[in-house]
């Protein structure tokens, strides 16, 4: 049994910023992650992070409120407006803070943080570090965490690398801690904590085609959901317009922000042919661009019938090498294409989970002492469609808030270490569950279940959805959940048992996939990334509401909750 004041689960940008936030409020943070912090998926973010800094010559009149409006409009009015305003007001503070901590942002000629145009934004407000913004931000936060770990006499920050939380322990509506597995030794241990923060990332790997790291299995979301915390707006899955044909590795929106074109088999910039993207063209928001690309391919104008071209050649070698060197490197190593010479073959693919663990603007959940931030959480600031550059912002703004609020919560506690008994009991139960899974003598091949899940999600809850397709996907997911009960395990070792980890993640993926599908079935309208061919209009009268999913008797139960409006009236989106 271990004990800490605040346990942070996940060590990407949200988790690390939360841990620093806990330290800033003079409490101890223990950071647990299933991979070394620098291997987190935040590292893969490329294009940038939004803040109304006004550093670009075309952005001098930009304000946080304009940023918030773009965010709300981009969300198809499903974002909570107070949350969006809070995020955008905090944005400059968090970005300047990162810069002062050493983050090597690219610079303007007068030495300020450089900004570039991004989709759905009224001004060039995406601060960037070449095309490796997530990489430099994660390294900077990790560096600060190392500094806190080393310098604090009170040893305020500790790390548990390569541990996986399998259970959130809740007793009478209060969070007591977690049960976790040390992946290197296989030991199952309880960690009692006065407060727990999840910054556990997204769910992309439930789709066959995703830009996400292979570790993004929705596991944290599932652990919260199993413990009774609802998931919100899970049917809103972002499909990124430009992922590399074949491997679905991200080709940043910055490619288009810097002036890249999307062209079809005839070499034409086809976005001009669609009313919702004809003005903004390549820098329309992602939902609109991904849909129009898919329509183009379905109309037979895909290159070789399969993909579209992301053409950067007119930018010239100098600009490509200066602004998009990482993109060039990835295109060359993974597709054998040099973007200076040839267009990059791209296709839309799963990229981001707008929904997540339901929180309020303080990152608080229904369970006292349990907080969530980043892609794992749904505050909600992204609503039906997230703007590019807002995810990195979400991680640092709400990561910090989660850390501060959790520390404040510990301050307000009358008595400490009250959760130990509940955690001890949970450890005993969890050992049995994990042993059973490790020794499972079933007949079902987990790899087959994973493949079928990926295909079912691709087909049923992809870019274009309808009732029939979604129902088919639901049938498949439920059948796969049933088959997982009879899953087969072949390796019995405790330490470094990749099969056990994979099966734990698959179990999580299946339950969260069910929530995505049920949410999509219940939402009989089209909003943001959720496009129903059978209900092509947005229906504010019925569905200007958040979808809330609860885990009841092993199944997802859907209800709705109100959206915080008040500043902007919902209007039709055009770009």
């Amino acid at each position: 049994m271990q004990y800490t004041e605040v346990l942070v689960v996940g060590a990407g940008l949200a988790g690390l910023r939360a841990a620093i936030g806990v330290n800033e409020r003079n409490h101890k943070a223990l950071v647990l992650s299933k991979v070394h912090p620098l291997r987190s998926h935040s590292i893969a973010a490329q294009g940038g992070v939004n803040a109304a800094l006004g550093n670009h010559h075309r952005g001098v009149t930009d304000t946080p409120l304009k940023h918030a409006f773009d965010t709300v409009k981009g969300s198809d009015y499903l974002a909570d407006q107070d949350a969006a305003i809070l995020m955008c007001e905090e944005a400059p503070k968090r970005i300047y803070e990162l810069e002062r901590w050493g983050c090597p942002f690219s610079r303007t000629v007068d030495g300020k943080i450089a900004q570039r145009p991004f989709g759905g934004a009224g001004f060039p407000r995406t601060a960037y570090a070449v095309d490796r913004t997530g990489h430099v931000m994660l390294h900077t936060l990790y560096e600060q965490a190392v500094r806190f770990e080393e310098y604090s006499e009170r040893q305020e920050m500790g790390f548990l690398d390569e541990w996986l939380v399998t259970r959130l322990v809740v007793d009478a509506g209060v969070c007591c801690g977690v049960v976790a597995v040390n992946l290197l030794t296989g030991e199952v241990e309880g960690i009692t904590a006065e407060a727990v923060i999840f910054g556990t990332g997204g769910s992309g790997r439930m789709y066959a085609q995703s830009t996400n790291a292979l570790i993004n299995s929705a596991h944290g979301m599932a652990v919260a959901y199993w413990a009774g915390v609802p998931l919100k707006d899970m049917e809103f899955i972002q499909f990124h317009p430009t992922t590399l044909w074949g491997t679905n590795i991200l080709m940043t929106e910055g490619c288009r922000g810097e002036g890249g074109f999307l062209t079809n088999s005839e070499g034409k910039r086809f976005l001009a042919d669609y009313p919702d993207s004809q003005k903004a063209m390549e820098v329309a928001p992602r939902d609109i661009t991904a849909r129009n690309m898919t329509r183009e391919i379905l109309a037979g104008r895909g290159v070789k019938g399969k993909y579209l071209n992301l053409d950067l050649r007119h930018l010239g070698a100098d600009k490509i090498n200066a602004r998009l060197p990482g993109i060039r490197e990835i295109a060359m190593s993974f597709a054998g294409v040099d973007p200076i010479v040839d267009p990059i073959p791209v296709i839309p693919a799963q990229h981001y989970t707008m929904g997540g663990i339901s929180t309020n603007i303080h990152c608080e959940t229904e369970v006292k002492g349990f907080y969530a931030a980043g892609e794992a959480a749904c505050v909600s600031v992204h609503g039906g469609n997230r703007l590019g550059g807002n995810s990195l912002l979400d991680t640092v703004v709400f990561g910090a808030i989660a850390g501060w609020k959790a520390a404040d919560f510990v301050d307000g506690k009358a008595a400490m270490k009250q959760g130990m008994k509940a955690v001890e009991a949970a450890v005993e139960e969890e050992r049995k569950v994990l042993d059973a899974l490790r020794n499972a003598a079933g007949t079902e091949d987990p790899a087959a279940i994973r493949d079928e899940l990926g295909q079912a999600m691709q087909e049923g809850v992809g870019i274009f959805r309808d009732k029939e397709k979604i129902q088919k996907a639901l049938g498949t997911v439920l059948a796969l959940k049933g088959r997982f009960q009879d899953v087969k395990a072949t390796y019995r070792g405790r330490g470094m048992n990749p099969e056990l980890t994979n099966n734990l993640e698959l179990r999580a993926n299946l339950d969260v996939a069910e929530v995505v599908v049920r949410g999509a079935l219940g939402r009989e309208e089209s909003r943001g990334s959720h496009f129903r061919v059978d209900f092509p209009q947005r229906d504010d009268a019925r569905f200007l509401q958040h979808t809330v999913a609860r885990h009841v008797d092993g199944e997802g139960k859907i209800s709705f909750s109100p959206v915080a409006l008040g500043t902007w009236e919902p209007k039709e989106r055009k770009y």
């Binding site: 991979v35 030495g111 070449v130 560096e143 190392v146 074949g246 993974f334 395990a489």
Partner: protein, 242 residues
């Protein structure tokens, strides 16, 4: 007949096995299959016990550096076709093996922490906004900040083989990353940290680290810069003793 490729993989459980061995696997080959893709196929479909690290599969997270067909590389960035469908895989060198392709990176991170890998500014931050850094000053950080700490260089370094306490190419390049940052003022403190018995003077300038770096970083260049700076620092100290 469908195409297949061969994998010969280093297997060892430090806690249970007397000696390591190589195990052979046949994997179906499709165009674009990477070494990581092959390893995942083996782990998920042929042998659930095979241990290795991975995350991004896109050459950016630094998890999957290993020794592949004679050199250190990222498994996710290495095409099986470029290995002529015959792949031999060993773990990173000069670090203790935990199991199979998983090594204990503790020493590597200890060296990283030793050089104080965080900005130590000399002046308090500006009252508003950012530290001003000219594009030319920012350009001095190019390439060197791309380091993903995959430890390919550490595995390839001949000095780390002989001296486990040698700070190694990645940590020394990281020290230089802060030295050349116009916002950082801890130059003398870092020079002291890197010019001890296990620091910059230990490097034999064999350049194997530079050869294997997946991000084209030049640690020997950084080490040479640090040596020059360390000499200047010593001379200054001799001329102006405290």
């Amino acid at each position: 007949m469908a195409a297949t490729c061969r994998f010969s993989i280093f297997r060892h459980d430090a806690a249970a096995d007397e000696a390591p061995r190589f195990q052979q696997y046949e994997v179906p080959y499709t165009e674009g299959l990477t070494v990581l893709g092959g390893l995942i196929h083996i782990q998920q479909r042929l042998d659930g016990s095979l241990a290795f690290r991975y995350s991004c599969r896109a050459g950016v997270c630094g998890s999957c550096a290993m020794h592949i067909n004679g050199r250190y590389r990222l498994a996710c960035e290495t095409q099986v076709a470029d290995c002529k469908l015959d792949v031999a895989v060993r773990p990173l060198g000069h670090l203790p093996i935990v199991r199979d392709l998983v090594v204990d990176m503790g020493r590597f991170w200890k060296h990283y922490q030793h050089i104080k890998p965080y900005l130590i500014p000399g002046t308090p931050p500006p009252a508003a906004g950012e530290y001003v850094q000219t594009p030319d000053d920012r350009a001095r950080l190019d390439v060197i900040i791309d380091c993903i700490l995959c430890a390919s260089c550490y595995g390839a370094c001949t000095t780390t083989a002989a001296d486990p306490e040698f700070l190694g190419p990645a940590a020394l390049a990281k020290a230089n990353r802060f030295l050349v940052d116009s916002r950082d003022a801890a130059t003398e403190e870092r020079l002291e940290l890197v010019s001890g018995d296990h620091g910059v003077w230990r490097c034999h300038q064999i350049f194997s680290c530079q050869q294997v770096c997946p991000k084209s970083i030049n640690p020997p260049g950084s080490i040479a810069d640090l040596r020059r700076a360390a000499i200047r620092h010593r001379l200054r100290r001799r001329a102006h003793p405290e």
